[in-house]
């Protein structure tokens, strides 16, 4: 796609600090509140239908970044622009623009609500559709994810883990958001299930041009699915760019370190024949 068009998501100088009351800093730095930087000055751009994979190296703050993008936390400074317009945390339309995928589905589904209601809630609160339209939308989403249509009468306790995984994906998709965000738990699934999920997201990217942001730890996956990659270390941007270029000839030390750490002598190397 042409990079001339304006980016669908552009993050500018995003920073996050946590402050805590501490006597030591009061005595040493004469400040009652000690600020600990979690994210400092993260900025990247992403175009429609692209897939960004964010990787980090240990003790850095990838979850915080994902939370901010998903709208679960508030950044200390910096902007998140969605197709040119500033996207605030409490934007009522937010959930139809950028949506998180909750990979730990068994915890994020309310055991008291049946799947239909769970899928209906986002539609009810951020669209003006009539009930039958909402139901139609839900059915379409279910068949898109190859889930049985009568699963909407089931309860989370009665469906298998794989199904509930798809259900939480459907929950993210009913609003047909422009951007999907997911944390790394999405990538820790068993290979066979992961393959299915990867296929679904690829299909979404190809056919519906949904932009996707994944946090990943597996470089093979990153190389496979992502167009751009953001390497973070200690809460700062280490390297950002086209996946092929970054992983092809890494410039920064952090990227090199990740690459060499990933391909340990224990990792399975496919037999080429």
């Amino acid at each position: 796609m042409s990079t001339s068009e304006q980016p669908i998501l552009s993050v500018k100088h995003l920073s996050l600090y946590t402050g805590e009351l501490s006597l030591r800093s009061l005595l040493l730095e004469h400040r009652l509140i000690r600020r600990k930087p979690v994210l400092s000055n993260i900025s990247f751009e992403l175009f429609r239908g692209e897939c960004l994979v964010i990787m980090d190296d240990g003790r850095s703050s990838l979850p915080a970044l994902i939370d901010i993008l998903a709208g679960l936390r508030r950044q200390s400074s910096g902007l998140i622009l969605c197709s040119g317009k500033v996207l605030t945390q409490d934007n009522p339309r937010r959930s139809s623009i950028i949506r998180p995928i909750f990979a730990r589905s068994e915890r994020t589904l309310d055991n008291g609500l049946d799947i239909g209601t769970t899928l209906d809630i986002p539609l009810r609160f951020s669209t003006e559709l009539r009930p039958e339209e909402r139901l139609a939308r839900i059915r379409r989403t279910l068949e898109l994810l190859r889930l049985p249509p009568d699963i909407i009468y089931e309860y989370p306790s009665n469906i298998s883990p794989a199904e509930s995984m798809r259900v939480s994906l459907a929950r993210a998709l009913v609003l047909m958001p422009r951007i999907l965000v997911s944390n790394s738990a999405f990538m820790d699934l068993a290979p066979t299930i992961r393959a299915e999920m990867m296929n679904i997201t690829m299909m979404l990217r190809k056919d519906y041009h949904i932009t996707q942001i994944f946090a990943a730890r597996n470089i093979d996956i990153a190389r496979k699915i992502s167009d751009r990659i953001l390497i973070m270390a200690n809460g700062t941007t280490e390297e950002f760019g086209e996946t092929g270029r970054v992983l092809g000839n890494p410039q920064s030390a952090g990227t090199k370190k990740i690459l060499e750490n990933f391909s340990t002598r224990y990792r399975y190397s496919p037999v080429r024949d």
Binding site: A70, G71, L72, P92, R94, S95, R99, P100, F102, R104, R107, T108, L109, D110, N111, G112, L113, D114, I121, P122, F125, S126, Y155, S157, N158, R171
Partner: protein, 298 residues
């Protein structure tokens, strides 16, 4: 749908009560208690105040003789010849009504305040919640004593004192429960779905209803005990009024003469009431939890 839900809840309730014999006995006991109180206070024309000086300290018996028919006082009479059965029935009614009032008021106000403080992180409400620590440390007896300093003692004031002493517990624990739920993953997911505060409140209330049922039942039993104790200490109802605790404190004067029945029957009434409330309360807790979370049957 509605009929389905009704059937679902009915099945959950009945299943729970049938599940454990303890629960079943509790249910039966509750029904008997209600029947006895209703019949005794409304239909049987008993009078807890009438004194027949001629026959004081009549021992309880179910004896039958052709002249007099059944013994009129199945639970005997006290020092003034008042029918203890009548006094127990009316006393149980008074005590239970006061306890119901206290528990219900405390539960309603407390849960509402706790949830409001938790969900709208309103500083004013939270300061109020903090000040509730003050009451949390003051037992009902103490409040009752303070009230006697201001107003004349009466059952109503006792009930108010007990409600006041129950309130802070409700507020703090409902706040804690709501805060814990708000931190859970599924609520966060709801928030990202764009659900409003009211809806989230509804969901949380639904998922924690069983906890509150248990709490309210415990508060009810505590209220019964406290009211009885306060009246026993002579800080509550006026002497003539039939009240279980009061009856016992009056009867204590006679146990050295061996007239145990003055205190045994009120005692049994109190203990059975509290036991029934506890058992039925825990049964309801289980049933509601089943009804909310085990939807496989519906």
């Amino acid at each position: 749908m509605t009929s389905g839900t009704i059937r679902h809840w009915a099945s959950c309730l009945w299943g729970t009560f049938r599940g454990r014999p303890l629960f079943l006995t509790g249910l039966i006991g509750l029904i008997c208690y209600i029947i006895i109180i209703a019949a005794g206070t409304l239909f049987m024309g008993l009078d807890p105040y009438r004194q027949n000086i001629s026959e004081y300290f009549v021992p309880p018996s179910l004896s039958f003789s052709f002249e007099t028919g059944f013994n009129r006082f199945i639970m005997g009479t006290d020092d003034l010849g008042r029918d203890i059965f009548a006094r127990v029935v009316f006393g149980a009614r008074n005590t239970l009504f006061a306890a119901v009032f206290a528990a219900a008021a405390a539960a309603a106000v407390g849960i509402a305040a706790g949830f409001a403080a938790a969900i709208s992180g309103n500083p004013v409400l939270n300061i109020l919640r903090r000040t509730m620590l003050f009451l949390a440390a003051t037992p009902s007896v103490l409040i009752a004593v303070l009230m006697t300093a201001i107003v004349d003692p009466s059952l109503r004031h006792v009930a108010e004192a007990v409600a006041l002493s129950l309130l802070p517990g409700f507020i703090s624990s409902s706040y804690r429960i709501a805060a814990d739920e708000l931190r859970k993953k599924y609520v966060i997911a709801l928030r990202t779905d764009g659900a409003g505060k009211m809806y989230i409140t509804r969901i949380i209330l639904r998922n924690t209803a069983y906890l509150f049922a248990g709490m309210t039942a415990r508060a009810f039993s505590t209220a019964i005990i406290d009211i009885a104790s306060i009246c026993f200490l002579g800080l509550g109802a006026h002497h003539a009024t039939p009240e279980l605790g009061l009856m016992i404190s009056e009867g204590m004067a006679f146990i050295y003469r061996g007239n145990y029945w003055c205190i045994i029957f009120p005692g049994i009434a109190i203990v059975s009431a509290v036991l029934i409330v506890n058992i039925v309360g825990s049964a309801l807790k289980t049933a509601i939890r089943k009804g909310v979370f085990e939807n496989a049957s519906s």
